[in-house]
Symmetry: C2
Amino acid sequence: MTYCVGLRLDQGLIFMSDTRTNAGVDNIFTFRKMFTWSNPGERVITMMTAGNLATTQAVVSILNERMKAPAEREPSLLRAPTMFQVAKMVGATLREVVQAQVQSDDDPESASTFSATVIVGGQIKGSEPRLFLVYPEGNFIEASDENPFFQIGETKYGRPILLRGYRPDMSFEEAVKLLLLSFDSTLKANLSVGMPLDLQTYASGSFKVGREKRFEASDPYYAHLSQGWGDALNAAIKSLDDFEFE
Amino acid sequence: MTYCVGLRLDQGLIFMSDTRTNAGVDNIFTFRKMFTWSNPGERVITMMTAGNLATTQAVVSILNERMKAPAEREPSLLRAPTMFQVAKMVGATLREVVQAQVQSDDDPESASTFSATVIVGGQIKGSEPRLFLVYPEGNFIEASDENPFFQIGETKYGRPILLRGYRPDMSFEEAVKLLLLSFDSTLKANLSVGMPLDLQTYASGSFKVGREKRFEASDPYYAHLSQGWGDALNAAIKSLDDFEFE
């Protein structure tokens, strides 16, 4: 499994992804699930993937190939005029890869086996930063004021704290903390999500990749946070009145 | 879907279940998912069910019928010598009902359609209170010091707070608060789990049903807790140091 979150903030966008991939518990690898394409000063596009690793790697490879062949007529992420067109392109590529796998397979359940989901966000000169969730069918939805963040993969353990803790006016520093707590809740409960974690920020209007960091399992801030969270959460529970039986 | 939790405490056992059943979003009913059998002074057995409603109702009906026909040779919950035998009986009945449904159906996926899971706990004179999780295949596991609680149904949203907040030496009053917070996290994130919530406690060695309560959506304590939790959680997040970029 996987866990990736993309948040839309007033300040810009922030992305976090784990790196665990597994096919059974004894077949575990570390793979980067966050990919960035940029033309500094003009656009930055960041993508995170969840699902079948062969599918997501094929999608990234196809998107890369199209960019490296400038003579080719295929549209490329670096030439798409808007983020909406970027999401459309990612969706079309994802759908194409999934369908090709399904057609070469006789199992009726293979559509779900080869499936994948993508979060893609960024900014292209001339419009605001935008964040999309792309489904394996190739269609997609955009983050809005009502739904300002997207999660993919093993989303449930880490969702309650995001719902309670997210504010659009958070600083990147606060958002990193909130994301790490959401990942901590997930890591504690589910073996298929694993460290290290990749972080990237994008400051609105900067048109360049913001801060990047890989949090290793031994990261002192993460360890401090994870340990402190148990105490802070228990203090929060304690601060509320106990139930009283009538 | 459904959400039920059974906790083993030093003081005894505590059970909470929601009451929402649905087959699609416009086909919603309220059904009790908590069932109790007792012979005051000698045994109390409490069961909670998740999964296909026809299956779980059939299981409860069969278990009830066997008790009402004392001449019948079938073993009954009220005559089982130990909680282990109770769990075995529930498992055998559950497996029987699921298998009967599957055999009368041609769809190879029907095993999962008719599936259900059960938490059963209680105490029978002569041994300690025990808590079991029964699988649709009829086998089961018992709560232990390492795994002192079981969840069934929509378990993920409410798991992180249980993992962090549970202590075996909690009072029932604290445990009710923790359970309501776990249910609140689930209710906020998932439409298929719904109020009212049923609560029951069992005090170790009492051999009678403990406290019982149904929390309606309008319950003042629940409303107070749910509202207070947002603030308490945000204060907890705030109490931890923000991340600092190097």
